[in-house]
Subunit: 212 residues, 2 copies
DNA sequence: CGCACCGTTGATATTAATCAATTTGGGTGG
DNA sequence: CCACCCAAATTGATTAATATCAACGGTGCG
């Protein structure tokens, strides 16, 4: 939970539960994840937690920090994480090409968040889990980290619950239902999706809709 | 529902239910709302609807369109709307100062959306409504459109339901509970918040947390 | 070997959705 | 001004989805 950030050159790594950023603390760098998963979340006073964003390999954590904005939510490693530090001057110093990348990154984030608003606001447990697993797979695939129909899936059911706004118990039961319907295979941190289209259908995502 | 966009100079206006933008159609301009309310939403195949963003006076609708991104969600007027058209060249043509404004706008949107992810994922009907009414009031106040403790609130209970991920019936009952507890006064499209701090408390928002 | 953490199960409680009227209120045309 | 109309708000009864509470089993690791 505590401990030093291990820096080697412009790289650093984090252990599970270690913070990449804390609320209100100006980060000294912007991280691009090379390996591992991290998330940003918010905690309510009574302990309820909602994960509001997931960072997978290739992702730049919070590009708008480059403009001097400070994190309003903590970012924490879910697994071991290797990251590259993109140093940023105190206000708005990023190369012109990175700027373009940041725009793209931000608009994708808005798009993904909007999709999750729909899912959390209007969808059932089954649809939420389908959405999550699809998004994970498609994002992993997009960064070349899928193998056929499968990819790594290091999240615990507790973390899945905090992403989908459900309880761990209900996540467990719903996953069982999905498994028994042959929608997904999920065991020992590994996800396999036998029929993407079927899962997409269950998730209630329009065929055009971007997930990754 | 249909009809022409009324343009006069670089201004235009829309009637309730008229589209400011449709899915997948490249907009010919980016709109800054001068008066009235609009929203963006997504519709599920079975008719469920989730509003994913609200545009109030002063807001720039979707700044990232300026970069050639196309709308992935429709934007529709909730009331009569007057707007200024900020024309944009086919790809990425906005003045340098507007660019800064767009960044700010985008990061605010991400922040607001993240807050709503928490609310939709983890909060009760009462907390959701408190969040919504607070946000509305604070945003209206921020643009000088509040009068003491009150401001306009043109949304129907149906629209409130589509923002908060509830049913209209449940919104109705929860609002009654809030009224009877003296948390809000809400009638004939007008909102009054007798005690901001109390409502903030009910909404379960950290005191630091930005709403507007 | 034992301690954690994770996944699983069963029983019950709550919240919110659903279904079906009924009432209210603002606008419109006669 | 009044009658009418339609959308919005309200109410009541019931059901469905999910949370909560409390164990229990498995597994990796020090």
């Amino acid at each position: 939970m505590s401990g030093q950030i291990a820096v080697s050159g412009s790289h650093c790594h984090f252990r599970p539960h270690q913070f990449l950023a804390r609320e209100d603390e100006q980060p000294e760098a912007i991280f691009q994840i090379d390996e591992g998963w991290a998330c940003r979340y918010r905690l309510l006073s009574d302990g309820r937690r909602q994960i509001t964003g997931l960072f997978l390999p290739g992702d730049i954590c919070e590009p708008h920090w480059a403009l001097g904005t400070r994190p309003t939510q903590p970012i924490v490693a879910l697994t071991n994480v290797r990251a590259t530090c993109l140093p940023c001057s105190t206000h708005g110093g990023l190369a012109r090409e990175s700027e373009r990348a940041c725009w793209k990154n931000l608009t994708e984030m808005i798009e993904r968040q909007a999709n999750w608003l729909v899912t959390l606001g209007r969808k059932t447990a089954l649809e939420r889990l389908a959405h999550l697993l699809l998004e994970l797979f498609e994002r992993m695939r997009a960064s070349g980290l899928s193998y056929g129909q499968q990819c790594a899936m290091p999240l615990t059911q507790m973390e899945i619950a905090d992403m989908t706004g459900l309880t761990p118990v209900h996540v467990n039961r719903t996953l069982q239902a999905m498994r028994s319907r042959g929608l997904v295979e999920l065991q020992s941190k590994w996800l396999r999706i036998p029929d993407l289209a079927a899962l997409r259908d269950v998730a209630g995502l329009s065929s055009r809709q971007t997930i990754a």
